[in-house]
C-alpha cells in the first residue's frame, strides 16, 4: 500500500485487499499523512479484484473516521475493476465516493 500527498490530494494506491487488517493499516496511514490543506482523498482500487459488504463497511468506516477528525475532503475511488464498481453502485457508495474510471480522469 502506498500513501502519498500530491498537491492538495492524498492518493492511496497499491491496495490489494479490503480486509480488516489492511483497513486498520490504511486508516492509520491516512491519519499520519493527512495535512490541513488536503482537499481530496483518492483511493486507487485498480488492484482490488473483488469486494463484499465487509469491504464496503470498511470504506465507510475510513470515510467516517477522517470526517470525524474534522477533515471534510472529497472522496474519490479511482479505476475500480468493473465488478468492484458495480458493487459500490449497488450499495450506493458512489454517492459517498465519486467513482472515476482512471486516475488521470481527475484532471478532467
Amino acid at each position: 500500500m502506498k500513501i502519498e500527498n500530491e498537491s492538495d490530494t492524498l492518493r492511496i494506491s497499491e491496495l490489494r485487499d479490503l480486509d480488516e487488517d489492511r483497513v486498520l493499516e490504511l486508516s492509520r496511514g491516512i491519519r499520519r499523512a493527512l495535512r490541513p490543506d488536503v482537499r481530496a482523498i483518492e483511493l486507487d482500487l485498480s488492484q482490488v479484484r473483488s469486494i463484499d459488504s465487509d469491504g464496503a463497511d470498511m470504506l465507510v468506516a475510513i470515510h467516517d473516521g477522517v470526517n470525524r477528525m474534522g477533515f471534510m475532503p472529497a472522496w474519490r475511488v479511482v479505476n475500480p475493476v468493473p465488478g468492484v464498481r458495480q458493487f459500490l453502485e449497488l450499495v450506493r457508495l458512489h454517492r459517498l465516493f465519486e467513482i472515476l474510471p482512471a486516475r488521470n480522469a481527475t484532471a478532467a
Partner: protein, 285 residues
C-alpha cells in the same frame, strides 16, 4: 397451416442469459420469447408448429408442452446445430399447407415483428428489445396485467405500497412484492415473483424472476438475476456474495432429462456431449 420456429442457440455476446436455460426460454415480461412467437404464429393461422432446438431441447419441450395453450399442435425437434430458415425448410418442410414465406420458417432471435431489434447481439440489445416490447407484451391470451397509469403495468397479486414511486415506463410482473419507499423506473422491469426491499431504487434495469433485491440498494443500467448483476451497457458482471443485497429466491433445478441425454450421447460418442449443449454447438466459444 404449418410453420417452423427455430430457437436461437449459443450467442457469445450474452452468456449470462444462457445460464438458466435456452435463450428462447429466457424470461421476458412475464413470458418467454418462445411463447410470444407461438402466439404470433397462431395469430397468423398456424395450427402445427415444429420447433427446432439445438440448446437444451428438453427445456423447450417442457415449456411448449403440446401447444394446446395456443391452440397449436407442437413438435419439438432437437438439432445438433442451429439451422437457417432455408436449411429448416429443406430438412423439415415439404408438402402443402405452410404459412406464406417468410412466416413458414422463422428464427426467434428477435420478438415478432421487431426484426430491427435483434435481441442477442449484446446485453444492451436485449434490454432495448424488452423496453420496446412493453407496449405489445400484453398479448390476447394474457390476463391479469393491467396498466394502472400510462406506461405503468402491474401484474396480478403484486404488492405495491402506497409510498412506492413508479416512474413510467415500467413493468411490475405477477406476485411481485415491493417494500416501502422503493423507486421503480423509468425503464425498469421487475419480473414475476421478485421481491424488492424497502428504499431500493431500480432504474433502467431488469430484475429477473424469483430474485431478491435488498433494502436500500440501487440497481441501475443492469440486469439482476439471482445473485448476478450484469451491466447491460458494458457487459461487465458481478456475482454478489451477500445474500441480503441480491440473491435468488429459488435455486434453479437441474434438468435431469437433459443430463441423461448428454450422458447417453457421450457414451455413444455421438457428440462432444458432456459439455453443455450450447457449448457443444459452438466449439470456438
Amino acid at each position: 397451416m404449418k410453420a417452423i420456429l427455430i430457437c436461437p442457440g449459443y450467442r457469445p455476446a450474452v452468456p449470462q442469459l444462457l445460464e438458466t436455460g435456452p435463450l428462447a426460454a429466457a424470461p421476458l415480461l412475464g413470458e418467454t420469447l418462445l411463447a410470444y412467437w407461438l402466439v404470433h404464429l397462431a395469430s397468423l393461422g398456424a395450427k402445427e408448429v415444429t420447433i427446432l432446438a439445438c440448446d437444451r431441447p428438453g427445456a423447450i419441450r417442457q415449456l411448449a408442452g403440446t401447444g394446446s395453450r395456443w391452440g397449436l399442435r407442437i413438435k419439438v425437434v432437437g438439432e445438433m446445430h442451429e439451422l437457417t430458415p432455408a436449411e429448416a425448410r429443406a430438412k423439415h418442410g415439404g408438402g402443402e399447407g405452410w404459412l406464406p414465406a417468410p412466416h413458414d420458417a422463422v428464427r426467434a432471435d428477435c420478438l415478432p415483428g421487431m426484426e430491427s431489434h435483434p435481441l442477442f447481439e449484446s446485453y444492451a440489445a436485449w434490454f432495448a428489445g424488452i423496453q420496446a416490447w412493453q407496449d405489445r407484451a400484453i398479448t390476447p391470451d394474457r390476463t391479469g396485467i393491467r396498466e394502472i397509469s400510462p406506461g405503468i403495468r402491474v401484474g396480478w397479486q403484486s404488492r405495491i405500497p402506497a409510498d412506492a414511486v413508479l416512474v413510467a415506463p415500467c413493468w411490475i410482473g405477477e406476485k411481485v412484492s415491493l417494500g416501502g419507499g422503493v423507486t421503480i423506473g423509468p425503464n425498469a422491469v421487475i419480473e414475476n415473483r421478485a421481491v424488492v426491499g424497502s428504499g431500493a431504487e431500480i432504474v433502467r434495469s431488469i430484475v429477473g424472476p424469483d430474485t431478491f433485491v435488498g433494502d436500500l440498494t440501487e440497481i441501475s443500467d443492469s440486469l439482476a438475476t439471482g445473485d448476478t448483476l450484469v451491466n447491460w451497457q458494458d457487459g461487465s458482471s458481478l456475482q454478489v456474495s451477500d445474500e441480503f443485497l441480491l440473491c435468488p429466491l429459488r435455486r434453479p433445478s437441474r434438468d435431469a432429462t437433459e443430463w441423461f441425454r448428454r450422458v447417453a450421447q457421450a457414451l455413444t460418442g455421438s457428440s462432444p456431449a458432456l459439455l453443455p449443449a450450447d457449448r457443444a454447438v459452438a466449439p470456438h466459444a
